[in-house]
């Protein structure tokens, strides 16, 4: 039973990353109509940013949780202003291809300087150690990741679904011209939205740095699983991405316990099953 709980916890942690990443993808897709293939590379940049902050400037984990998403978010906004905005009005597929190219560049540059092996990032002192819950041993850092990402997800959901800013954002997704006529600066909003989505990816990167090692390709394979999560969940709602992300992480964890051979493939198999039954995804609207 110990092993089952441990795998469930691993599943929940992976689920947090899936949720944070697919949430960022959904936010970006809503405003820019672009599937951000660079999301995995930006997640990796978040982790590297935390690593640099610690090893060059001595800034530890807690400030990095705020600084890294901002730095990477600004990088994202520069990308949006210099490249992505020129694709407005073109077929969606060009956005996919452009961001794929950006991902290749970013990952290639990091691989050149840091090789493909992982760099260690220590767990901050405050979160070291573990708790005995009676039925299992809970490493505190892992518990923290799950709780913290859940809070961030709910906060993002609240921001977009319940606030005035979110209302403007959703309105701009529906009809940018009309929203512009109300005096809202839609291009700036698009840039900030991209920054927000990218920031979420970077935040996931910082969270994952102490668990998984910091590697240039850490986002490359993860992003494809996140794409499968997006297809299953269907990008329709913010809450949908969050729930699907966590749920799939847990299902993956359970598979690792009951039938480890399938743990790499279970998400993709689920995607196939969902597509056969409900092509629009679980919470999706028709494209």
């Amino acid at each position: 039973m110990q092993a089952l709980y441990a795998q469930l916890l691993v599943g929940l942690i992976n689920g947090s990353f899936y949720a944070l990443l697919s949430l960022g993808l959904a936010v970006i897709f809503g405003m820019l109509n672009i599937i951000n293939f660079a999301h995995g590379a930006l997640y990796m940049m978040g982790a590297f940013c935390a690593y640099f902050l610690l090893n060059i400037t001595g800034i530890g984990y807690w400030p990095a949780l705020i600084i890294a998403p901002i730095v990477v978010g600004i990088f994202g906004m520069i990308l949006e202003r210099t490249m992505l905005q020129w694709l407005a009005g073109l077929d969606h597929l060009y956005g996919l291809l452009l961001t794929f190219g950006i991902a290749l560049i970013v990952q290639g540059v990091f691989q050149n300087y840091f090789g493909s092996s992982g760099l260690p990032y220590a767990i901050p002192d405050e979160l070291k150690g573990g708790m005995n819950l009676g039925f299992m041993f809970l490493p505190i850092y892992r518990g923290w990741v799950v709780v913290f990402s859940l809070v961030v997800c709910i906060a993002t959901w609240y921001l977009i679904e319940k606030t005035r800013l979110g209302a403007n954002l959703r309105a701009a997704t529906e009809n940018p011209t009309l929203v512009r006529a109300f005096g809202i600066n839609v291009p700036r909003m698009i840039t900030l939205t991209y920054g927000l989505g990218v920031g979420l990816a970077a935040l996931a990167g910082v969270l994952s740095a102490p668990i998984n090692q910091v590697r240039p390709l850490m986002g490359a394979d993860l992003i494809i699983v996140v794409f499968a999560v997006v297809v299953i969940g269907g990008m329709g709602s913010i809450m949908g991405s969050i729930i699907t992300g966590f749920a799939l992480g847990v299902i993956e964890g359970l598979t690792k316990y009951f039938y480890p051979e399938a743990s790499n493939t279970v998400v993709f198999v689920l995607m196939v099953l969902v597509l056969l039954v409900k092509p629009t995804g679980l919470t999706g609207r028709a494209a």
């Binding site: 190219g101 290749l104 691989q111 494809i224 997006v230 297809v231 493939t265 995607m271 056969l276 494209a287």
Partner: protein
């Protein structure tokens, strides 16, 4: 939303004549390669990728479907052929047949699943499916995991042509490429191809005209996957191995890049693109990981400034369709 490919020019007899002239020139030039002293292995490899890119282009350029998982057909056919040749000891022609059959079966299944969504969702589904296959091949015993299937015997094609001789192998690969190319060309210019283009331009209207668009798309997907598999089987004879790199999704990205560089939706674009990218990898190999960065830069540059690709720009300049 502007169309993905620039194919506004009508197909006229003049266009057909242009295309036949270019095709003949291409066939003659490629036929002369063994006499020039160019490293034939490089050209053979490029030919395999050119056929692969043409098959991919059939789907994106004429069906509007961007498959981001076409490497799965290359890899699957490669593994099937390699296994048939090495373990079962089949003759080359039967080995190719097994590979093509494997890719065809795979394309029926994956096509049925993926054409249920369009646009970027279609791309993401094909990508996820190819990653699913990657993990299966990583664990399946017959692929030998990370090692791949190596030392594949080349044998005698139809019992006559000795494929171990580079020149013979070259002409066999060239014949395979030209045959596949003509099949794609014929498909594009058939009534079936016209319906595909109609679906690409406006699917709801095609449906309202009574076309069962899903069947057309599925058929195009199967055709594309099967020809891609044929390219994968040919590649086994050139490289004499089948490995995981052929199934990995970065390979799918390279196929997209080749087609994009040459020109999406142009007939000769994928061929030019494949040669450019393979040559680049060959000559820039010394730069190590920087090749990835250069490929990324080409991707970005193509999408931002050069969307028609090499052949697309030339065709647009001369106002011809190529």
């Amino acid at each position: 939303m502007s169309a993905l490919t620039d194919d506004s020019l009508p197909v006229t007899p003049r266009a057909m004549r242009d295309e036949m002239i270019v095709f003949a020139a291409m066939a003659v030039l490629l036929g002369l390669v063994p006499m020039t002293g160019i490293y034939p292995f490089f050209v053979m490899q490029a030919l395999c990728f050119a056929l692969l890119a043409c098959a991919f282009n059939l789907l994106i350029g004429y069906g509007g479907l961007l498959s981001f998982g076409h490497a799965m057909f290359l890899g699957t056919a490669g593994y099937c052929s390699a296994h048939a040749l090495k373990v079962w000891g089949l003759s080359p022609e039967l080995g190719i047949l097994v590979g093509v059959a494997g890719a065809a079966a795979l394309s029926v299944v994956t096509g049925f699943i993926s054409i249920r969504r369009q646009g970027i969702y279609f791309s993401m589904i094909t990508l996820a499916l190819s990653q699913l296959l990657y993990f299966i091949y990583l664990q399946a015993p017959f692929t030998h995991g990370e090692d791949g299937i190596q030392g594949i015997p080349q044998g005698y094609l139809f019992g006559i042509f000795n494929l171990a001789k580079p020149t013979v192998l070259y002409y066999v690969v060239l014949a395979g490429f030209l045959g596949g190319f003509l099949l794609i060309y014929r498909t594009i210019n058939s009534p079936f191809g016209e319906v595909l283009k109609a679906i690409r331009e406006n699917e709801p209207r095609a449906i309202s005209l009574g076309y069962k668009t899903d069947q057309y798309k599925l058929l195009a997907f199967i055709l594309s996957g099967t020809i891609a598999g044929f390219a994968g089987s040919l590649k086994v004879f050139v490289a004499q191995n089948a490995s995981l790199t052929d199934v990995h999704w970065t390979m799918s990205g390279e196929i997209v890049l080749m087609t994009l560089v040459g020109g999406l939706g142009t007939i000769f674009g994928p061929v030019v693109g494949a040669f450019v990218i393979i040559a680049m990898q060959q000559y820039l190999a010394g730069f190590g990981q920087w090749v990835t960065v250069i490929q990324g830069v080409i991707f970005v540059a193509c999408v931002l400034t050069f969307r028609r690709g090499v052949i697309g720009e030339i065709a647009h300049y001369f106002r011809r369709s190529l």
